[in-house]
Point group: C2
Chain length 465, copies 2
């Protein structure tokens, strides 16, 4: 705290990237330190700040009608809170030795250096765009930014009820398939892998596959896209794979993202095997006392496998921002890591996972048992008691829970949180069978599906090698 | 295992009570030991075995149309599995020193002694029926058994769209209020306490109160029922409290239950302060090697407070049965205790709790912080993002989670499972803020309501004394 009247050195925090991680950090730091103690300058190269990229599929699909609803806090709101947020301004150089960043005003083209005392890198991720012939044709869309969403909606407006091809069958791919079905499109999803949702084991991905086809989505596995074909007007007309051509009025790229760390790499900051920045528990970039990083540009520790992973997800970005802002503001906070929880849905099919898949467990050198059960999410006699499939992995001999995957209808996905907490606490499946979970007929059978899976896992561990 | 051809002494297991705990125990023991090793005789005084008492409100309310759907396994099915289940046969004496029970056939009146090697007591609970004038009048109903449900439906059929009074505002009371509203009745709930749902703190019960009134239910707190008034036909016509008379075509008693342990008490078995049997971790009655007890007739250890509690709930009864059956069958299993999780609903209002209320924490001599937050269960921009209220208690200085209460709409109640697992693992609220819970706009905001509460609890603990 500065004593009034005393001249104190005001510190300057520079934030690179004005989305979830960066602006959470700035906001939290601002709450802890006023403008007389800490100047905060944030650079954002895009048109929007603090928006929900995860919400874009629901906006495109029509569940969310107002684009602005996806913006958690506008640039003006940040400025009112004493954060000097400079929009459409791209940081082009990080000089961490000199303690300054170079930024270019994308409107005027003017460049200048800004010194900092503390730096937060929150540059996010960039979508993977394979170098396919035709990928830049009109009608081919990413769904990473609000501008992407606007452009896609424009294309959908031109060809209502047309044919859509989604390239990629991960979270973005399946969510966009839902959005396009909701818009009345005929939807084909081209998936390179053996089954959709490669964040699940293939046997569970298979359930998603079958359900998507039940929704009228054409799902093509093992599809290697070779080029995007255009018509006489230069717009997309089809997508070609090694085997076939799929007519398309619109193509959506849902292939995934990579950490946007080119500036950090050029600055010599430490990157991990997935290309993300490496930080300590306090989200400080390793070896750099006054540089923090968070959000989609960092790697995080997987608490189950002990390995670093890249998991671009808004909830982590917000937690990182909160931790960084606390530490920048003189408080102390840590981000211990993740267990790899993710939930999603395609229409009424819910999909969830946490912890390790079989291949993760193999890679981590663990010996494990794997069980799969079908169980209802409500008492069997209660209306809407749909069965869900729960797969559970437990370490051999110790019985330690390693991971859970769930595919089912209503009330299926968020049950994965039970396993997420159990993983965090390193529980055994035996301990889990006695968990005191909420029971009443509209909410659960007497044996919650997670407990049914845990009981079967106990048997497998006991009889296992 | 008996070696074929060798003459082995076959043991006899006697089970007293043919509902969840008793028949789970019998079934599990049967799976572990065949009829050549273990004879199983079970006595049930009622007309039904293995039924879901928790489902009765939904049957009465019309969500469940078929009574038989509430029966998990019929007497015939049990018998086909090699369990000698004797219905309408009441055990009238436990001779634990002599290793035998006396039972009376309620049809013929015949009584006889049955010796046992191993005994399971699963006598359940009996509803509290205060000695009020008029309480035995036609039209006054408990809702403990399927026969109770049939009788109540008969009364409802006589006076469709009439007036109902529910005495008691706990789980059964609020669930029956919903059932009667669904049947088109005008419903008044008479509650002795300051707010409904005394398993919550009164500030959270207040939210239930307001929501129930919003549903058209008349909620009367501080109501001491003095008598039940009957009309010329002898049937109920009103309920009188200290202040007022409430007209009633039907009265439902939802005052709670007590452990049914009169036989056990007469046999000198150890009872706790709530009148339930006391067992060890393996559900063996303390001091009696060959006697087990489970379900609504036992007390269970509260893992948070370290005290014994009586929690009549089907999910516990099933777990007890499973543990008892394993131990009787020569396997080994334990029931470590509960954290006090319960969920319920009144129409679209969901109610949940786990761990300690403020008064429990005081009673346990704990110093604590208590915080309450409002947060949505989905991303704010996603359709159906209703706010829920989450109250969280954490121990001072250590920050250990002590309890959570939730009142809200869709997707509110089962979030309590996150806290139930965290309580089981003795997590601090600080650790909870980093939990990797499932996030996607249809399922959660970036900060799940439980995380929002945990963050506020951390602040309270840090700034607390």
């Amino acid at each position: 705290m500065s004593i009034s009247g005393e001249s104190t050195a005001r510190e300057r925090l520079v934030v690179v990237g004005g989305d979830a991680a960066g602006m959470s950090a700035a906001s939290r730091a601002r709450r802890l330190k006023g403008p007389d103690e800490l100047e905060i300058i944030a650079f954002e190269r895009g048109h929007f700040s603090s928006y929900s990229a995860c919400g874009i599929p629901y906006w495109v699909g029509g569940d969310v009608t107002d684009r602005d609803a996806l913006i958690a806090r506008s640039p003006e709101e940040h400025r009112e809170r004493g954060i000097d947020l400079r929009m459409r301004t791209e940081v082009t150089d990080l000089d961490v030795r000199g303690g300054r960043v170079r930024a270019r005003d994308l409107g005027t083209g003017a460049e200048s250096w800004t010194p900092y005392d503390k730096l937060v890198i929150a540059t996010g991720a960039r979508p993977v765009r394979p170098p396919l012939p035709g990928i830049d044709a009109p009608g081919v869309h990413g769904v990473q930014t609000l501008d992407d969403g606007l452009a896609l909606l424009d294309t959908l407006g031109r060809t209502p009820g047309g044919r859509a091809v989604v390239i990629g069958a991960g979270y973005i791919g399946v969510e966009m398939a839902e959005a396009l079905i909701n818009r009345g499109y005929g939807v084909t999803v081209l998936n390179r892998g053996p089954e959709p949702m490669s964040t699940l084991d293939p046997d569970m991905g298979r359930l998603v596959h079958v359900a998507m086809e039940g929704l009228g989505i054409t799902m093509v596995n093992g599809a290697e896209v070779t080029k995007i074909l255009t018509g006489g007007d230069g717009r997309v007309r089809a997508v070609a794979t090694q085997d076939e051509e799929y007519a398309a009025d619109v193509v959506v790229l849902g292939i995934g993202v990579r950490p946007e760390t080119s500036l950090a790499e050029a600055a010599g900051l430490p990157l991990g095997e997935h290309g993300g920045l490496l930080t300590d528990l306090a989200m400080r970039v390793r070896g750099h006392d006054n540089v923090w990083a968070g959000g989609d540009c960092v790697e995080v520790l997987d608490l189950v496998s002990g390995r670093e992973r890249h998991i671009p997800l808004g909830t982590h970005a917000n937690k990182h921002g909160q931790v960084i802002g606390s530490n920048v503001g003189g408080d102390y906070a840590t981000f211990p890591g993740v267990v790899g929880t993710a939930v999603s849905k395609v229409c009424d099919l819910e999909i969830a996972r946490t912890g390790l898949r079989e291949k993760d467990a193999h890679r981590a050198g663990l010996r494990f048992e794997s069980v799969t059960v079908e169980a209802t999410g409500r008492a069997g006699y209660y209306p809407g008691a749909d069965p869900m499939t729960v797969k559970m992995l437990a370490e051999r001999r110790t019985g330690r829970l390693l991971g859970v995957q769930i595919v089912g209808r209503e009330d299926a996905a968020k049950r994965v949180d039970i396993a997420a907490v159990a993983l965090t606490a390193c529980m055994t499946v035996e301990r889990m069978t006695a968990l005191d979970l909420g029971y009443a007929p509209p909410f659960s059978p007497v044996w919650d599906p997670i407990l049914v899976a845990a009981r079967k896992a106990v048997s497998a561990v006991r009889s296992g090698g």
